[in-house]
């Protein structure tokens, strides 16, 4: 009797991820994403006759990031839930999980697939936004050469880094939604709870700030613990100064990235644990 166990396989994980990505492609999700990104950036362009000079560039950047954060969050929650539940509801998970694969490969495979889809959306939006900024900056440079005496003022590298950080943040959000999906029975419940979690993650710093001075020790500890359980999404908003020429602190950006990766790993682990015994 051979007792060779089936080892965890990254290639199976990648296979499930690429199949998930392919589903998004073949279900025409990307047509929609492209439309959305073009629409967003075009509507930033719509405000261009404000002609604020260099502050107009900041406006475009802020608008672009605002749109990325808003639509990216909505997209992350819905696609994660959808791509997970399409397997459960169509009962394709039945066939797949009856193969010699680990449930962890399934869960992380789904995660990587969704993360790639969101990456495409982020790249599209940031890319288009950068192109627009570049184009507009070029125009402004000829209109008002003095303001640009020392060359271009938009830091495109920083813009890119902030985009990557947002993508990582969506990754954290996606892992939270995946965790909810592993024990929830329906797509709708998952989406609603996911939005709820999103709001908590964005606003938890408020609670932490306002409750940290409370006398009651228990309450203070509770707030601190909750603040640890839910990641603080406010940390990812490093983009506020971009477009005004302020430089991004690379150390800070690195720390935020590590923060995101740690949360993804821990929440992903919890999702695997919760999915381990799920009845399909």
């Amino acid at each position: 009797m051979s007792a060779v166990s089936v080892p965890f396989s990254f290639s199976r994980l990648a296979l499930i991820a690429s199949n998930t990505f392919l589903e998004a492609v073949r279900q025409r999700l990307f047509n929609f994403l492209l439309l959305l990104a073009v629409g967003l950036v075009a509507s930033a362009q719509f405000f261009r006759d404000f002609n604020f000079g260099s502050s107009e560039l900041k406006f475009i950047a802020d608008f672009g990031f605002g749109a990325l954060v808003f639509f990216g969050s909505a997209l992350t929650i819905t696609t994660t839930a959808q791509l997970f539940f399409s397997e459960i509801e169509n009962r394709t998970a039945l066939t797949l999980l009856a193969k010699p694969i680990w449930r962890a490969e399934f869960v992380f495979g789904k995660f990587v697939g969704v993360f790639a889809v969101i990456g495409v959306f982020c790249a599209l939006t940031i890319g288009l936004m950068m192109a627009l900024l570049w184009h507009r900056e070029g125009q402004l440079m000829t209109i008002d050469p003095e303001a640009f005496a020392s060359g271009r003022i938009v830091r495109y590298g920083d813009l890119f880094i902030v985009g990557v950080l947002q993508w990582l943040k969506f990754g954290v959000l996606s892992s939270i939604v995946l965790l909810i999906a592993t024990f929830s029975n329906s797509n709708l419940y998952t989406v609603v709870t996911g939005f709820f979690a999103l709001v908590i993650c964005h606003l938890q710093y408020l609670a932490r700030d306002s409750w940290s001075n409370v006398d009651n020790l228990m309450l203070r500890v509770l707030v601190q613990v909750l603040g640890l359980i839910f990641p603080n999404f406010q940390l990812f908003n490093l983009g506020d100064e971009i477009g005004q020429g302020a430089a991004l602190d690379p150390l800070l950006a690195g720390r935020v990235a590590v923060y995101a990766v740690v949360y993804i790993a821990v929440i992903g682990g919890l999702a695997v644990y919760s999915f381990r015994n799920r009845e399909i």
Binding site: A3, V4, N19, N90, T95, A98, I280
Partner: protein
């Protein structure tokens, strides 16, 4: 170890589902014990809701057992290892709509770790084998029910497993497809595979199974080889040209004089499925390539057990 490890061994399997929030339990499988020996075709029968699919899902580790021990080739069924040599066709299968037939089978082949070098050939072989090569470039979303069952069989076989578990492989499949499915199962048996099949179309099961078990309300009612259960060795049916009444009387007298009895006289009728099979062309059917022998009639002549001397001859074409 001298005793061979059975393909499936189930001991005292009980499965409860929590069906209400108050914790009321529904017992879907009740203290079931079964053994499927390697190389057998084993039929699991039972009415709707008797726990057939639940049992199968426990065997495949998709559901956890409430109590009892389930092993596949000696490995506990909740371990990933136990699924290495198993192919599974779920009931009413449904696959990734956005893949083509080839892509689908290829995907599962890669999941099962079929080596890259053999991948292409293996996928093509198995798709041909289930008779779906003409439709294999189409999206699975456009497949008919019978085609889904075929592609499902292909994905279950692609990694050449030793045990194949088929949950109602003929549900929604027409008589031609059903007959072909039965042939495929018999071929698997010839290759030395173990097959576990569920159905409530009893005539079909009869044609292919070595042993059957009948479940009802999650309990095992009977289990045994087909011969033990339904073989009637003490009777025979003779089919003759129409006889005038006088001859029949003479025949009866002759039989009685030799100590035999004429138990029943009936007009044999062609079975409808055989009529169907003889009239409907095989081959260009359902995108099937006719890869499965082209004029084979199922060897069923399933005796009609209610009529002792009933006969069901093949229709004269």
């Amino acid at each position: 170890m001298n005793t061979p490890v059975p393909a499936i061994s189930i001991k005292g399997l009980t499965k409860d589902f929590a069906v209400t929030l108050r914790g009321v339990k529904l017992r879907a499988v009740d203290d079931l014990s079964l053994t499927v020996e390697e190389g057998h075709v084993f039929g699991l029968l039972g009415p709707n809701g008797s726990g057939k699919s639940t049992t199968i899902k426990v065997i495949l580790g998709l559901l956890g057992a409430t109590a009892g021990d389930v092993r596949v080739f000696g490995v506990p069924s909740h371990e990933v290892e136990s699924r290495r040599n198993v192919g599974y066709l779920p009931e009413a299968p449904y696959f990734y709509r956005y893949l083509s037939g080839y892509e689908l089978v290829r995907f599962y082949a890669r999941v099962c770790g079929v080596p890259r070098k053999q991948l292409q050939a293996r996928v093509k072989d198995v798709v041909d084998w289930v008779g779906l090569s003409k439709a294999a470039d189409r999206r699975v979303g456009t497949y008919s029910k019978g085609m889904l069952q075929r592609i499902g069989l292909a994905q279950a076989l692609v990694h050449d497993p030793k045990l194949i578990v088929l949950d109602e492989p003929t549900a929604g499949v027409d008589p031609v497809g059903t007959a072909e499915m039965c042939e495929l199962i018999l071929k698997l048996k010839q290759q030395g595979k173990t097959v576990l099949i569920t159905s409530h179309l009893l005539a079909q099961i009869e044609d292919v199974c070595d042993r059957v078990a009948i479940l009802d309300h999650g309990k095992l009612i009977v289990e045994g080889s087909l011969q033990e259960l339904v073989g009637q060795r003490d009777r025979q049916a003779l089919i003759v040209d129409s006889l005038p009444p006088a001859d029949i009387e003479a025949l009866r007298g002759w039989l009685v004089s030799r100590g035999h009895a004429l138990n029943a006289i009936e007009q044999p009728r062609a079975r409808l499925d055989q009529l169907f099979l003889s009239k409907v062309s095989r081959g260009g059917h359902a995108g099937a390539s006719g890869g499965v022998g082209s004029n084979v009639v199922p060897k069923s002549s399933a005796p009609n057990t209610s009529a002792p001397v009933a006969a069901s001859p093949k229709p004269k074409a």
